[in-house]
């Protein structure tokens, strides 16, 4: 064994085996109660930055930062601290949040799905263009769901059985969906029908004064949270993300689990699309080629769902969305132009990745991602 490898192994042992072992699929529920320390905090060396931030999880740091920003903007920015603006802020992050729930789930399992936005846009474009051709809106929604689930199944099978890397499979699927949607729908933009109020209700309606997108996001977040933290399948997803080989050895049926994960992402993409078409009144294929998918990854990583898998949860997505939503909302009120917004978004993402690196240093265990 060469020197550097030895050191890495030693660090791994000191960080994981000697300190309190982090087993997210076991400790996930307790982690929120603060009973388990982050691995960095238990390292043998004296590292002040880890002592400073290591006691907190990334999502807690992001949430705290969001609260600070909210307070700051409320004091310093006229028109920010109103109930209507907070509802608007929440509404504006809902679609991103729903997409983020799906992405979060798949990243926790150590996968990734770059076709999520393509599934959303492609399926709904085909469905919406079928309505003027005589398909009833209800069946159009079913058609969109069918397309999403079919693509999700395909992604899952390719990753689970063909064992192709998720990054490339889903990237390829995104291209195929983009092309195929044009082939079938030949529409650059598809508009929601005017005579189907229930179809656009999830995006346009309000319940007790609260815009529906917020409620849909909240409901989806609760369901995904319950699934991830309260069911054994949810725990298996953490196990898979933390160490797939170990999970398989303990008897988790990884292949069906992987397929299920990709189908769930697809279903959430469909749900996000349902809100999207209601809210904007249209679905634009161009978003497949834009930065939307990276925005989704941004909120997921920002909130502390590490790309190495097995870490974070629904609260991470909510915290990541809240931070981004707060920044964008305040910038819009301040009339900051979107190029500056992009710079700030990029810097925030970079900061999140650095924070992720500090909290979850790469080691032998986690460096195996993507092989």
């Amino acid at each position: 064994m060469t020197g550097p490898t030895k050191r890495k192994v030693a660090r791994r042992i000191s960080g994981h085996a000697a300190g309190p072992t982090v087993r997210p699929w076991v400790d996930h529920g307790r982690k929120y109660l603060g009973m388990v320390m982050q691995p960095g905090a238990a390292a043998g060396r004296f590292e002040p930055w880890r002592l400073a931030v290591g006691q907190l999880s990334q999502e807690q740091i992001v949430a705290a930062l969001t609260v600070v920003l909210l307070l700051g903007f409320s004091l310093g920015l006229q028109g920010f601290a109103t109930a209507a603006n907070f509802l608007d802020l929440l509404r504006s992050i809902s679609k991103l949040g729903i997409l983020g729930l799906g992405m979060g789930l798949i990243v926790i399992s150590r996968g990734i799905d770059l076709s999520e936005v393509a599934m959303m846009a492609g399926s709904w474009c085909v469905a919406l263009t079928a309505i003027p051709r005589g398909l009833p809106p209800f069946w159009a929604a079913v058609l969109a769901l069918t397309i999403c689930v079919a693509v999700g199944l395909f992604n899952g099978v390719m990753v689970a059985f063909v064992e192709a890397p998720a990054l490339f499979v889903t990237l390829a699927t995104a291209y195929v969906i983009y092309g195929a949607a044009y082939w079938f729908a030949s529409a650059f933009v598809a508009y929601a029908p005017l005579d189907a109020p229930w179809l656009v209700f999830a995006g346009r309606g309000t319940l007790l004064g609260i815009p529906m997108p917020i409620l849909v996001f909240a409901a989806a977040a609760l369901v995904v949270h319950a699934f991830l933290s309260r069911t054994s399948i949810g725990r298996f997803i953490y196990a898979q993300g933390d160490n797939p080989e170990a999970a398989r050895l303990t008897g988790v049926a990884l292949r069906p689990l992987t397929i299920l994960e990709y189908v769930l992402v697809a279903a959430l993409a469909w749900l996000a699309g349902l809100v999207w078409i209601g809210e904007t009144g249209s679905m634009q294929m161009a978003i497949v080629q834009g930065t939307t998918i990276f925005d989704v990854i941004l909120v997921v990583v920002l909130g502390g769902i590490s790309l190495v898998g097995g870490r974070g949860g629904v609260f991470s997505v909510v915290a990541g969305c809240a931070l981004i939503g707060t920044l964008l909302n305040a910038f819009t009120i301040m009339n900051v132009n979107s190029e500056v917004q992009n710079i700030i978004r990029g810097v925030v993402l970079l900061a999140a990745i650095i924070l992720d690196n500090l909290l979850h240093p790469r080691d032998e265990e986690t460096a195996r991602q993507g092989d």
Binding site: A84, R91, Y182, R204, I287, N337, S338, E339
Partner: protein, 356 residues
């Protein structure tokens, strides 16, 4: 002097022959049509038939470029010309490669849409140097080629703003608050439109621009920005957007806020049926169309003029500006709105868009 006399005599002699031989010729004409018609068409065909016209848009699948492509293709095919299209799919590197490959194939005319003022200029220069006419559409590069066809963006911006001043400015009794939704801050279409808009809006003291942001040509971004703006400024008077499809998101945000009857939503764009639908549904108060179909025809006629003139490529610069037309509920129908065509199938797209 002597020469002129000879010429006159010759013409006279010919007229006499024509008069005498008239009935015979007329008989022949009944069977084969007039000679002039044949000659004109033969001349036309000699200049055009078998020539190749290549079309290189920034991307296909966009109503504007698809309409251009579809018009150019139809016109070219009717004249027996070859039509070639490449789809670089929004990728500047692929576009440069596609253009290089196209120039090497030596078509007779290239119709190109520039993503920036510098990206393609070298290749366009090379194309003209080797004998290919270059027609630039809607956004010119720094290199002035044989022809430019397109909208005058400054004028489009000015026309939008003039109407907004009428609706919201001094004496209108409205708040004067205006929102602007730009496309991309770096795109020529946005830069020149905003210059035209601001130039006009600044002349009226009553107008106050409360938000001036770019939505990256995306309806959802426009929706999110506008939802915040309408909530901060409930007395907003007008919203100006630089593209119909993007601005439909802004209109939706205003509709969601229940203010679609109060806020006047303006947009400029290519004028497809999608835009007309927005006007007729009451989402757009007024729409300034730069008529993509007319632009496609203008581009083709520019090509015909160049081929018929048989001039050396690069020896002249002609401009063909588009006349923008206002659409509102009274005229947003019929020929003013073109049906969104299916994108022409890219030819040899494989080498135009290499997959990494």
């Amino acid at each position: 002097m002597v020469r002129e006399c000879t010429l006159t005599a010759l013409i006279r002699a010919l007229s006499v022959t024509a008069l005498v031989g008239g009935p015979v010729v007329a008989l022949a004409q009944e069977e084969a049509g007039t000679k002039t018609a044949h000659e004109l068409r033969a001349d036309y065909d000699k200049n055009l038939k078998g020539k190749t016209i290549a079309f290189l848009p920034i991307a296909t699948g966009v109503p504007l470029m698809d309409e251009w492509g579809s018009v150019i293709k139809t016109e070219a095919e009717w004249r027996g010309m070859n039509f070639v299209i490449r789809d670089p799919n929004n990728n500047p590197a692929a576009m440069q490669q596609a253009l290089t490959a196209l120039v090497d194939e030596k078509p007779d005319v290239i119709v190109v849409q520039n993503p920036s003022v510098t990206l393609l200029q070298k290749e366009l220069k090379r194309a003209e140097a080797q004998g290919t006419h270059v027609i630039q559409m809607n956004m010119s590069s720094n290199y002035k080629s044989d022809a430019f066809v397109g909208a005058d963006w400054f004028e489009v911006g000015r026309m939008l703003a003039e109407d907004v001043v009428k609706a919201c400015g001094t004496g209108s009794g409205a708040s004067g608050k205006v929102q602007i939704v730009q496309g991309e801050l770096t795109a020529a279409a946005s830069v020149d439109q905003i210059a035209g808009v601001m130039d006009t809006l600044n002349k009226d003291k009553a107008i106050k621009v409360v938000s001036n942001q770019a939505a990256q040509w995306d309806a959802n971004n426009a929706l999110n920005i506008t939802a915040t703006v309408i909530q901060q400024h409930p007395d907003l008077c007008a919203s100006i957007g630089f593209w119909g499809i993007m601005q439909s998101g802004a209109a939706q945000a205003i509709r969601n806020a229940g203010k679609i009857d109060q806020v006047k939503v303006y947009a400029s764009g290519e004028g497809s049926q999608l835009d007309c639908d927005q006007v007729n549904q009451g989402n757009f108060y007024k729409f300034l169309s730069y008529t993509a179909g007319e632009q496609g025809r203008d581009a083709f006629l520019a090509a015909v003029a160049l081929l018929e003139a048989d001039a050396k490529p690069g020896s002249s610069h002609k401009e063909y500006y588009t006349r923008p037309i206002w659409l509102d509920k009274s005229n947003a129908s019929g020929a003013n709105c073109y049906a969104v065509p299916k994108p022409p199938t890219p030819t040899t797209a494989a080498d135009a868009t290499p997959k990494k």
